[in-house]
């Protein structure tokens, strides 16, 4: 039994993944999202690339429905908590919402590119850059 599992997803395929680093002894899993692969029409070369990344990471690899596979994996390890890294994708939000029905979710971010929590104008890149530049090169 372990208290938690680490969920590795496609936005953080590094052995330095902060969720893995924070819980080095926890069982970790990656799930190929078959529905997403079909809807984005991903071809073989992307799968090979991702798989090669995974082979350098201490994770169990599965495919299928992500929330379902994670639930099964967590239950087998009698875990109540799932730890992962953030992603802006709507798919990630959906999966998190499903997981939160049953598990506690912890999301650990790595160091941001732009460490700025004030207001950013995203209407055009040029406006974003005006603010970003000051904080990046100070």
């Amino acid at each position: 039994m372990s208290e938690l599992i680490v969920w590795v997803h496609g936005d953080c395929l590094s052995p330095t993944n902060p969720a893995l680093a924070a819980y080095q002894d926890a069982p970790a899993i990656f799930v190929f999202d078959e529905a997403l692969i079909a809807s984005w029409r991903l071809s073989l070369k992307r799968i090979v690339f991702i798989y090669e990344c995974l082979l350098e990471m201490p994770v169990v690899i599965r495919k299928g429905d992500v929330a379902e596979q994670l639930t099964r994996f967590a239950e087998r390890h009698e875990a109540r908590r799932i730890v992962t890294t953030p992603s802006p994708s709507p798919r990630f939000k959906e999966i998190c919402a499903a997981l939160q029905q049953k598990f506690e979710l912890e999301i650990i971010a790595s160091e941001p590119f732009l460490d700025y929590s004030g207001k950013l104008d995203l209407a055009r890149f040029s406006r974003y850059w005006q603010t970003a530049k000051k904080h990046l090169f100070e």
């Binding site: 070369k45 350098e56 160091e111 950013l120 209407a123 055009r124």
Partner: protein, 284 residues
């Protein structure tokens, strides 16, 4: 799934069976290797000052880090720090960090609008309505049989390697949207199938930038620009040289491609009146 493979060929054979549908779409494998070790080797080779001077050229010193960054094998912060560590003054890395910032920017927009990255952010500023554009990608582009040596080479490179230089992406996207009058979404879907770095934020929003649905004017190019930035590699062997679709100066190409667009129309950074109330500039 399995983790023990004697070599890459064995891994590929295994994945072709396990992911038969993805393989049926296209079964090329890129020479770009996945993994942190390969990512770090690629990161060691960046050269921010030369990048700034040569990045527009297809033979220029671009980093080829995009697939690693896309999948978080390297974080943008790590790459930023590496670039800044390599130069004496931050100014020598400014251009490179500015390009990294494009990714950060698109990701932030994606976090706000989600699946709306698939929807026109603004109307086309080409004199045409979205309904004037075709829904599907023409087969000659997909298969690389247009007869235009550059376009066909880019199409083939995309399918075989999963990577295209930024300028090639811009040219190919502009050709599809503006010369063939195809909806950017059709091109974006095609890119996502093949790009190792494909992601709905950078990809779709860049397509929208080319199309003019997320910028104040459409992006176009001409033969002279392409020829100069490719060391003539394509033009030199093209049977259509000097009579291709990209021949001419920008003013005449604009008139030809966008006959309904008023010449002096200046959209600036503003939005058409219909969108100005309530929903401001690209934000929810």
């Amino acid at each position: 799934m399995r983790r023990d493979f004697a070599d890459r060929d064995e891994l590929i054979r295994y994945l072709k069976v396990e992911f038969a549908d993805a393989t049926a779409l296209d079964d090329h494998v890129s020479s770009t290797r996945g993994g942190r070790a390969a990512a770090e080797r690629t990161l060691e080779k960046i050269d921010p000052p030369r990048y700034a001077a040569t990045r527009n050229n297809l033979r220029g010193k671009v980093s080829r880090l995009s697939a690693y960054i896309r999948h978080g094998v390297l974080s943008l912060a790590e790459v930023r720090d590496k670039a800044l560590d390599m130069v004496r003054s931050w100014r020598d890395a400014e251009k490179f960090v500015n390009e990294l910032a494009w990714r950060d920017y698109w990701q932030r927009v994606y976090a706000q609008i989600g699946d709306q990255v698939w929807i026109d952010r603004e109307p086309y500023k080409t004199g045409f309505a979205a309904s004037d554009y075709a829904d599907d990608l023409p087969a000659d582009i997909e298969h690389g049989t247009t007869g235009l040596v550059c376009i066909d080479a880019f199409s083939q490179e995309l399918r075989e390697t999963g990577y295209l230089h930024n300028h090639a992406r811009m040219w190919l996207a502009a050709y599809i949207v503006h010369w063939r009058r195809v909806k950017w979404q059709a091109g974006a879907r095609w890119f996502l199938t093949h790009l190792l770095d494909g992601d709905p934020a950078s990809n779709n929003l860049s397509w929208q930038w080319v199309a003019s649905t997320f910028s104040h004017k459409p992006y176009i190019f001409n033969r002279e620009n392409l020829e100069r930035n490719t060391e003539r590699a394509y033009c030199k062997i093209c049977p259509l040289y000097r009579r291709c679709d990209f021949e001419g100066d920008y003013a005449s190409l604009e008139r030809k491609l966008f006959p309904r667009k008023p010449v002096d129309e200046d959209w600036g950074d503003r939005f058409p009146p219909a969108r100005r109330n309530g929903r401001k500039g690209g934000r929810r």
